[in-house]
């Protein structure tokens, strides 16, 4: 989706050619940095520059920033690009590893487990239902690349139910609810103002918000790819789904996983996340979530699902504090732990033990069957802890 720079319709004749070229190329620099900068924005930027004094660097900065950026997360990228492009600062950020073209057949250790060659085996001829049935209860960690490729198709099909909340909005209802005066007036026209036919409106329901937090640290590596696919499927299930990944830091993946094509979505997510298969700091990641997103009421009334093995390198008391904050605001908290799939599992890992009191449901997530079950559980979950 490239757009022609020099022949863009926004290029007006009377503008100094150098300014136009600067802005057009700068727009392209930002696009490479991951910002969504289309012709409309570049055109706005040029109009904005017409309105400010070009000699005042500060004004130029604000005019460009306000027209070319529309997300807070992109401000850092913009600042770096602005410094590099207009202030001629040479320290351009190092190219991210994930951007490098990956050699086919080789997956670096600790590299981003995106849709690498292991998953890219093409569509396999696994038609038999019995094979799929077997696959449903096979541990993700034990799957061969071919099986994972098939599992991926199955995960995509998992339906995800969500509990409902009552909305404020009224919809037409045949029997009960508040009188629909609008409809009443209309029908009264034919009866000389006598309300003979009564219509009602009542509150309807909408799905609750759903927040998914996926642990992508080293110990979760065997499950991370499959669960990320699950996050992608969940993200595509409707509105009000937010997705995050965390290892040593928290990364919001909602817009990346919003891409319809799962290959593209996973590749975008892999580029975004910088701490694949590293250490775990569950407490700090939850804190980052609570500070940044919980404070802005994302958690309020939502079903929060944490997918993690609960193996914490740091201090487990932090987890308890942050889980308490989370549980306090959320409608319900579900913890999905792939280790629970093992018959002799006990929630003994420090982090898991600290989190346990605040979790409404603890489920396994090691195979497709358990993910299917997760969907059912989320759909029927009720609020356990007091509001």
């Amino acid at each position: 989706m490239r757009w022609p720079g020099s022949s863009a319709p926004c290029v007006a004749e009377h503008r100094p050619h150098a300014v136009v070229r600067h802005v057009v190329v700068f727009g392209r620099v930002l696009r490479e940095g991951g910002l969504e900068v289309g012709p409309q924005r570049v055109s706005d930027a040029l109009r904005a520059l017409d309105s400010v004094e070009l000699a005042r660097q500060e004004d130029v900065y604000w005019a460009l920033r306000q027209t070319l950026v529309s997300r807070r997360d992109d401000l850092d990228t913009f600042d770096r690009a602005f410094a590099a492009w207009f202030l001629r600062v040479s320290d351009r950020p190092p190219e991210r590893e994930a951007d490098e073209p990956r050699r086919p057949g080789a997956r670096r250790k600790g590299g981003a487990p995106g849709p690498g060659p292991e998953l890219d085996g093409g569509e396999l001829e696994v038609g038999a239902w019995s094979a799929d049935e077997l696959l449903r209860t096979r541990d993700f960690a034990a799957m061969s690349p071919a099986e994972l490729a098939r599992a991926r198709v199955l995960i995509r099909q998992i339906a995800l139910a969500r509990p409902l909340r009552r909305t404020h909005r009224l919809r037409r209802d045949r029997r009960r609810g508040a009188l629909d005066v609008r409809a009443l007036v209309r029908s009264s026209l034919s009866t000389g103002g006598d309300p003979v036919h009564r219509a009602y409106r009542s509150r309807s329901s909408a799905p609750r918000k759903l927040v998914l937090l996926l642990d992508i640290s080293g110990s979760m590596e065997p499950y991370a790819r499959a669960l990320l696919l699950y996050l992608h499927a969940a993200r595509g299930s409707g509105r009000g789904v937010e997705t995050f990944a965390f290892g040593t830091r928290l990364t919001r993946l909602t817009s990346e996983l919003g891409l319809r094509d799962s290959d593209e979505a996973l590749a975008a997510a892999a580029r975004r996340v910088v701490d694949w298969s590293g250490g775990t700091r569950i407490g700090e990641s939850l804190k980052a979530y609570n500070d940044e997103w919980g404070r802005r009421a994302l958690t309020r009334g939502a079903v929060v699902v944490i997918l993690s093995d609960g193996c914490e390198r740091g201090d487990a008391t932090g987890i308890a504090t942050e889980m308490a904050r989370l549980a306090h605001q959320a409608f319900a908290v579900v913890w999905v732990n792939p280790l629970k799939g093992h018959p002799d599992y006990q929630p003994l890992a420090g982090g898991m033990r600290a989190a346990f009191p605040y979790v409404d449901r603890l489920l396994s997530g090691h195979d497709i069957a358990s993910l299917e079950r997760l969907g059912t559980v989320i759909g029927g979950i009720e609020r356990r802890h007091a509001a």
């Binding site: 904005a48 400010v52 004004d59 604000w62 306000q66 909005r169 007036v185 026209l189 103002g193 009421a297």
Partner: protein, 292 residues
């Protein structure tokens, strides 16, 4: 309102200052460009940094009436755009002789209740439409808003399409509880408002709280800045600082001390956990720091 409200960013800046609002250069530029380019301005920032105040101040500075639409979950057309006055319609039918009321009469302009969006579009003079906390509204409403913001016209099925006589200026605010739709953002200029610098905060406090002792304003602004550097659940915004200084001034305090901070801290910190974290030694330490 004049056609081009302000000739330069500096002119807008001083007009804002006269309306008791001190904007930094970035915000002044954003407001200026929004008026000049006739594009809606989307303001984002933490709670209490003065997003709504900015809209009120620019309306006052430009001499435009402010029409405010507060968004909330479930906000619908009936509350944002228009609604029919059903009670009046019913009375009208009863009062008229049977068979003499036809639909066109009943759904005429005199039975229409104008809500903020329609009011802004129908206004004879140029108004400032403030769409506050758009992130709280449903996505369906956002899509509807997109339509309004591109054409500035509203269709009432019974009356037809009503177009704006004067394109209103539009400011949207969001607390980022969710990401807004890209299509909506593409129509807007975007500005992120951060917490003000200590110097700026002192100036603002002195402007907004008349009669505040200078030492008190300085110490309070530094205290708020210290709190923001700590790890709190909800660091105080500018609005909280102003409330706090108002409280201290009303109590006749000349500067901060441990007792008066303890007694009034509730207007600065709104979470029980935060109040627990800032007490005794921690509080005394902070008071000591800002008293320098």
């Amino acid at each position: 309102m004049r056609d081009v409200a302000f000739a330069s960013i500096d002119e807008l800046d001083s007009a804002l200052a006269q309306a008791s609002y001190l904007a930094d250069r970035g915000l002044a530029t954003a407001l200026y460009l929004s008026l000049k380019l006739e594009k809606p301005l989307l303001l984002e920032g933490e709670a209490g940094v003065g997003k709504t105040e900015a809209a009120k101040a620019i309306a006052a500075a430009a001499g435009s009436p402010l029409i405010r639409l507060q968004c909330y979950e479930g906000l619908d057309i009936a509350h944002a755009v228009y609604e029919w006055n059903y009670a009046r319609q019913l009375l009208h039918i009863r009062a008229a002789q049977a068979g003499t009321v036809d639909e066109a009469e009943l759904f005429g302009p005199e039975f229409l209740i104008r809500r903020p969006v329609l009011e802004a579009i129908e206004s004879e003079q140029r108004v400032l439409l403030l769409i506050d906390e758009i992130d709280r509204a449903d996505e369906e409403f956002e899509a509807f808003l997109l339509e309004v913001l591109s054409d500035f016209q509203v269709t009432v099925p019974e009356l037809g399409t009503i177009s704006a006589k004067q394109r209103p200026y539009v400011i949207l605010t969001s607390n980022r509880t969710r990401e807004l739709h890209d299509a909506l953002k593409r129509r807007c200029l975007y500005h992120w408002i951060g917490h003000p610098s200590v110097e700026r905060e002192i100036e603002i406090v002195e402007l907004r709280v008349p009669g505040v002792p200078q030492r008190l304003a300085e110490q309070a602004a530094r205290f708020a800045a210290e709190l923001r550097s700590l790890d709190l659940q909800k660091p105080p915004g500018l609005a909280e600082t102003i409330d706090w200084v108002r409280a201290l001034t009303a109590l006749g305090q000349q500067e901060l001390d441990v007792e008066n901070v303890q007694a009034t801290l509730g207007s600065l910190l709104k979470y029980h956990e935060d109040l627990l974290a800032i007490r005794d030694d921690a509080l005394a330490g902070l008071v000591g720091t800002v008293r320098g």
